[in-house]
């Protein structure tokens, strides 16, 4: 306990004030004006300091930790690949007689997998034309397009102290709105695209805004509401997709919409040989917008104040509840852009209820990896886009299921959220703690239990 208390918070962020030894109550959790996560509140402002802590963790950690976390996750992924590889299994049977075979098999399987991942995500050495050689990197950017937009949405909400786990629902509603405009209203070039994009943004914003309104008006916790709204959106869209006259393509019995009209499709950026579409430009514009919003605008200033200290924000005349509504509208709109990118860029021939492709959840990991900063999210989005593009190439080439990417992604986030763990694995010094942590007694509680995990990872890293 003492170990956890002294290392974890101190390492990540400066303590807001000098420690005043007035008793445990002054710093103890019991007396801090917090609202429990599970308990909706009403009336006065419900500050979420626990998310402040995580926000500090997200933004206060160093780039080094991020890179090491990615490395560590790749190592764990590599172990999984090696262990489940049939050749490795076969060779390990006679490991003690010829260990070299096992190591060779491990090398073959892991290097093959990550090689395929790289070639699928960045540069295809085997391509016989220039187009084929550089197509992977454009695929990466294509996959990154919705990840960036959705990651910005989730990250923006984080900055205002809100967890938006409702990316899936917001994307689905946005996709439905955008797709509906795209296939049913013949409009001139340009205008049609703009209207379709705006429709998606509005759809996502409304679905996100519900969360903000419920939080502001009733204190309903946004985590619960967003999770629930995801399922409601799934069933709503499923219903609309199988109902003639709603979203279902006329004359079809499949739960699928008609194809977009060509006037509403994002134009290709690099010509027909590549999948890359103008949605990327929209995502870049969105990144610039969020950067401006957070660091240069009055609204963003308020969001950040509310996110870090809602009490002080309220006393300073900032309308905290209204901020919750605004930030969820904006967050939903940004996530909606991801849905738009899917419908108008990636799947233009009509979509079904899987159009969100798990991006809503990936966005959380993107936002966390990007430390909720606009350009960090941009880079993280491209990284995870590369994982996706490479993952599919790996599945096709090496027969390694693309799901390994999910494992690596979630491990990255876990590691990033716990810098002490990463430091322990790589035996890095803990920053900001000059004095040696004293060890008056052997750890007897949770700190002891967590050690084996760290130790196991340390072994794995070697």
């Amino acid at each position: 306990m003492s170990d956890a208390a002294s290392s974890a918070p101190g390492s990540s962020a400066p303590v807001p004030s000098a420690p005043v030894p007035s008793g445990p109550a002054s710093s103890g959790p019991a007396s801090s004006p917090v609202t429990p996560a599970g308990s909706p509140t009403m009336g006065s402002v419900a500050p979420p300091p626990k998310s402040n802590q995580i926000l500090r963790d997200i933004m206060g950690g160093s780039v080094v930790i991020s890179i090491l976390a990615v490395l560590l996750a790749l190592v764990v992924g590599g172990i999984l690949i090696a262990v489940t590889d049939e050749n490795v299994q076969a060779a390990s049977v006679y490991f003690f007689s010829r260990p070299g075979d096992t190591f060779n098999a491990i090398w073959v399987s892991v290097s093959g997998a990550y090689g395929a991942l790289f070639q699928g995500a960045v540069y295809n050495f085997g391509g016989n034309t220039f187009v084929k050689q550089i197509k992977p990197i454009t695929d990466t950017l294509t996959f990154a397009t919705p990840l960036i937009a959705a990651g910005l949405g989730v990250g923006l909400a984080f900055r205002a102290g809100m967890f938006n786990i409702g990316g899936q629902g917001q994307m689905l509603i946005a996709a439905a709105c955008s797709g509906w405009v795209a296939y049913s209203f013949p409009l001139p070039y340009g205008i049609h695209l703009i209207v379709a994009v705006l429709a998606g943004i509005v759809g996502g914003a409304v679905w996100g805004g519900i969360v903000g309104v419920l939080k502001a008006r009733t204190g309903a916790h946004e985590v619960i509401v967003t999770i629930m709204l995801n399922y409601i959106a799934v069933y709503l869209i499923s219903y609309l997709l199988r109902t003639p006259g709603a979203l279902q393509a006329p004359g079809s019995s499949n739960p699928k919409t008609p194809a977009d009209l060509p006037t509403a499709i994002y134009p290709d950026l690099l010509g027909g040989d590549f999948n890359l579409h103008a949605g990327l430009l929209v995502s870049i514009a969105a990144t610039v917008f969020v950067w401006w919003l957070l660091s240069r605008s009055s609204l963003g200033f308020k969001f950040r104040a509310v996110g870090v200290n809602p009490n002080a924000a309220r006393v300073a005349g900032i309308n905290v509840k209204r901020s919750y509504i605004y930030v969820m509208l904006l967050s939903g709109g940004l996530v909606g852009l991801a849905g738009v990118a899917q419908v108008l860029g990636t799947v233009t021939s009509g979509f079904s209820s899987g159009i969100d492709a798990g991006i809503g959840f990936d966005a959380i990991t993107v936002a966390l990896l990007g430390r909720s900063k606009p350009w960090g999210i941009f880079v993280a989005g491209i990284l995870f886009g590369a994982f996706k593009a490479g993952g599919f190439a790996m599945q096709a080439g090496q027969g390694i299921p693309v799901d390994i990417v999910l494992v690596v992604q979630s491990l990255i986030v876990l590691f990033i959220a716990a810098p002490p763990l990463v430091r322990a694995v790589f035996r890095l010094p803990t920053p900001g703690t000059a004095k040696k942590p004293k060890q008056p007694k052997p750890p007897r509680d949770s700190s002891a239990q967590a050690k084996p995990a760290a130790a196991a990872e340390a072994v794995a890293a070697k």
């Binding site: 500090r56 660091s295 005349g317």
Partner: protein
């Protein structure tokens, strides 16, 4: 049981909270531990109770050295504690709270609630408490909750009982009752450590007094010592806080508060029909024991309370029902009592905090965009003017000392065109140099003709600053008296009484019961 602390030292980083403290408490005596807020009293007791591990020194009970790894060990050794913030679980019954941690069980591992109830009644009857074992703690008045804390400690056969600032949350009657209980416990042979900073209580009940200051024992005294002797030991300087201030020439009434009542979120009337006026060029201090409605009163003025009845008129404009930002726009400057919670965003820079309550207004924001160059110039200027010591205006405020943090708040609030300045506990927890600075600025603000309200629980501060003093007690204003009223009178008024010889200066002093 005899308790002895030898050379207890406890550090938090570079801060030494306890510096080689020695203390002996004999069986059957009430030993008062006297010291200012932050002197290290609570830290010492938390070491004794096993919540903190001392860096040095030892604890002896009946001359045997003890090693407490946690509160469980301390309790088993016979130490009980009545915490300042009660360690009771609100949704549990009295009996459940009392049994927690040393539960008796019967068949199938069922809790033996009957035994716990009997224990509560037994201890209760022994000391004349009447506590229903099946009442939920959250339904009980504060004074009764404290008795539950005492029962909890006694149910574990505590031989040494520590009371940590037990009277901070009590009314005078409840305080008197507690004194009686402490006397009974002493007579029953319990050793009592009584932590407080209130001189009256110490002299009334203590058998011996140890005074600590800045983490060190600075002296021992008998209960016969005078207040002045105890106070000078406690504060360490015979210096009185004096603020150079000219006699004020109050102008017209600027703020008129009439029949103001505030109902809190649970329906409690926390401010009860309060009326007063503040004139231009005048400092009205609102004095009183913490928790008598001062906080809610200032929050009502600034617009932070939802259910406000009555009138608040500033320069002819009603403030009731306005949002906080509208009240700020009306020219009210506000220094909240807890700057870390309500006044500053610790992660924000000094510059950002300086525009915290002007995030909608020119010149800081134009067309929704922050004017960063203006902000930086402004911040540099204010940091210099208010002597904010830091590594530059981009330093996060959380890294500043308390005094410098408070200067940032002050700089922000005083750099607007004020029609009213309201400062709650403006010098709480800051160093002496900063206190002087803050006081100087408050007086300057008054001299500029701005009506000022200072809410303070510190009598020194009240008497140093105030032109007039309103004393609050249980949500009402007991009386409004001149700034030179003696401390004795003020102290009496803080208990709700109005001495006969005092005539309050205001005719609208509110509900005098």
């Amino acid at each position: 049981m005899k308790l002895e602390l030898r050379g207890i030292t406890k550090r938090f980083g570079s801060l030494i909270a306890n510096d080689h403290i020695d203390l002996v408490v004999k069986p059957g005596e009430i030993h008062a531990l006297l010291g200012e807020n932050g002197a290290g009293k609570s830290t010492l007791m938390n070491v004794l109770y096993g919540l903190y591990q001392a860096d040095d020194g030892e604890i002896l009970l009946d001359d045997e050295v003890q090693h407490f790894a946690g509160p469980g060990d301390a309790m088993n050794a016979g130490i009980g504690m009545v915490h300042q913030h009660f360690m009771l679980i609100p949704v549990f019954t009295v009996a459940e709270n009392v049994m927690l941690g040393h539960e008796q069980t019967k068949g199938l591992g069922r809790l033996d609630l009957a035994a716990a109830r009997a224990r509560v009644r037994e201890i209760g009857s022994q000391f004349g408490f009447d506590v229903d074992p099946d009442a939920l703690v959250e339904d009980l008045p504060v004074g009764v909750q404290q008795r539950v804390e005492i029962i909890k400690a006694l149910s574990r056969d505590a031989k040494v009982l520590v009371f940590d600032e037990p009277t901070a949350v009590l009314t005078p009657q409840e305080t008197d009752e507690l004194m009686v209980i402490m006397g009974q416990l002493r007579d029953a042979g319990t050793s009592i450590v009584f932590i407080t900073h209130k001189l009256r209580e110490v002299r009334e009940i203590a058998d011996r007094i140890t005074i600590i200051r800045l983490g060190k024992v600075v002296g021992e005294a008998e209960p016969t010592a005078t207040n002045a002797e105890l106070a000078s030991l406690m504060v360490g300087r015979s210096v009185e806080l004096t603020v150079h201030k000219e006699h004020s020439e109050p102008g017209e009434a600027a703020l008129i508060v009439k029949d103001l009542s505030v109902v809190d979120a649970v329906g409690q009337l926390v401010v009860n029909s309060v009326s007063f006026e503040v004139h231009h060029g005048e400092i009205l201090a609102i004095a009183g024991v913490q928790g008598n409605g001062q906080t809610e009163l200032s929050e009502a003025i600034i617009g932070l309370q939802d259910d406000v009845r009555g009138t608040i008129i500033l320069d002819g404009k009603s403030l009731v029902g306005l949002s906080v930002s509208k009240v700020l726009d009306a020219g009210v400057g506000f220094v909240p009592e807890d700057r870390n919670v309500d006044g500053l965003v610790g992660e924000f820079t000094i510059a950002e905090n300086l525009m915290l309550d002007r995030s909608d207004n020119e010149p800081f924001v134009k067309r929704g965009t922050l004017q960063l160059s203006y902000l930086n110039t402004f911040a540099e200027e204010k940091a210099k003017e208010f002597d904010v010591r830091s590594q530059g205006i981009q330093t996060p405020v959380g890294r500043l000392s308390g005094g410098n943090q408070q200067k940032v708040v002050l700089a922000r609030e005083l750099s607007r065109d004020l029609r009213l300045f309201l400062a709650a506990q403006p010098t709480r927890g800051i160093d002496v140099g900063s206190i002087e600075f803050v006081h100087k600025r408050i007086v300057e603000t008054r001299d500029a003709g701005v009506p000022v309200i200072v809410v303070s629980t510190e009598l020194d501060e009240v008497t140093a600053l105030a032109d007039r003093i309103a004393v609050m007690y249980r949500g009402s204003i007991v009386g409004i008296v001149p700034g030179n009223t003696s401390r004795d009178v003020l102290g009496l008024m803080m208990t709700g009484e109005v001495p006969a010889e005092i005539t309050t200066t205001d005719s609208i002093e509110g509900a005098l019961l």
